[in-house]
């Protein structure tokens, strides 16, 4: 017997993680763990390192973010990520597209809502 359907949030977040990371980095540079914490604080759930760093690598390869190592106190140090000018342009462009996307989805889901009430 099938149990309750899994929470779809993790899948949605994975699909839009690049945009979410650019949005968080627009506020200032952060290291990987702080980025994951910030996303969790925003209500997007826990992002594991196995998901986070490959996406940061993709953003860095695309020139949307840059990184540098900062010395740690007795620890291994931390790599801080910062958004680049190209990243800000990408964020602005994707923000506009995201609003269009959400509008389309809202209209589609609102229609199914009305059908359900009929």
């Amino acid at each position: 017997m099938a149990g309750a359907p899994p929470d779809p949030l993790a899948g949605w977040v994975r699909g839009s993680l690049e945009l979410a990371l650019l949005a968080v980095l627009a506020d200032g540079e952060r290291h990987g763990y702080a980025l994951a914490q910030q996303l969790a604080d925003q209500g997007l759930g826990q992002i594991r390192g196995g998901v986070l760093y490959p996406v940061l690598g993709k953003l860095e390869a695309a020139g949307s973010v840059r990184s540098e190592w900062l010395p740690g106190e007795g620890g291994p140090g931390r790599k801080a990520y910062a958004i680049t000018a190209a990243g800000r342009q990408r964020l602005a462009a994707e923000r506009a597209r995201w609003h269009e996307f959400v509008d389309v989805f809202d209209r589609m889901l609102a229609a199914t809502d009305r059908e359900g009430l009929r």
Partner: protein
Amino acid sequence: MTETFDQWELSARIALGDQGIDYHAATPPIEAARAHCEATGQSPREAFGTPEEFAATTADELPAGLRAEVDYLTGQLFTLATLVLIASVFFAVLERTMSFPVTPAILAGLALLAAALMASGGLPGALRAAGRPRQAKLAYVAAGVLGLLSATAFTTLPHGQIARVPVLGLVAISVVALGLLTRAPKPRTRRPRQPRGTDGDPDAWLTRLSGLLVGRYDLPPERAADLVREARAHLAATGAAPQDEFGSPADYARRVAEPEPVRRDPWWRTPPVAMLAWGLAIAAGVDTFIDWSAGGHVWSAWLVAVPATAFSAGQLIRTARTYRRAKRVA
């Protein structure tokens, strides 16, 4: 010259092997590509890009379970069995004989030569794919030593005949070996074994990650060290176990290496080494042609040595062009 699908397929299968996709797992995507090309009339390069690009896309789309540890050694045994089969028939026709003489020099020399070929052909690739790039260098040292021992055996051991081996026996053994090596694998019922020491031990997990990034995905060692250092810092910050935070080293290495723009091939896969190898093959082809012509084996000189030399020359030109183009882009 137009590239046929079969020529592209051979390179694609090698590239798929480099991605950890064995012969049987590679067949469905290759057949799908063939059907696409037949239906559309496109060349495989037009439709799917270079064999390496096709392999990378295919590896990305296949479920993780199908990406087995790369079976370079089976591939090398397959090559060896094929060589024995072709060489047995060819030299039997050339010498007009049904059996070959066995001497201590030939027996020891050939056994050592086969071991040297295994050490230089399949072993380095297998060790890199298994995430042990340092040991791959030792395999070349071993191959050099075996090659020297083989040459010593050929030249110094006694040349008196001790027995004769029937050609049909060699053919039968090769055919049976090829049949066994190309059998479809039985479906696996057990989960793949986790490499020893990576379960729960962060240092072993990170060491394995480093080996896989350099060996399997050809990342420059300094970039691999950077990624490993970042994973270590993340684990220190979260206090989590590596397996819980990142998954298995193999899966994480694949995901984190995928967007990396810079890859560094091991020296034996670089174009200058390939050009050197094709140059040596041309020299060997010319030498064989002269040798066979002088020995009265005119048909084999023209039908075997000349086409083999021409093929080597074609490959040398092709590799040089690709290398020049890559340098210009860089």
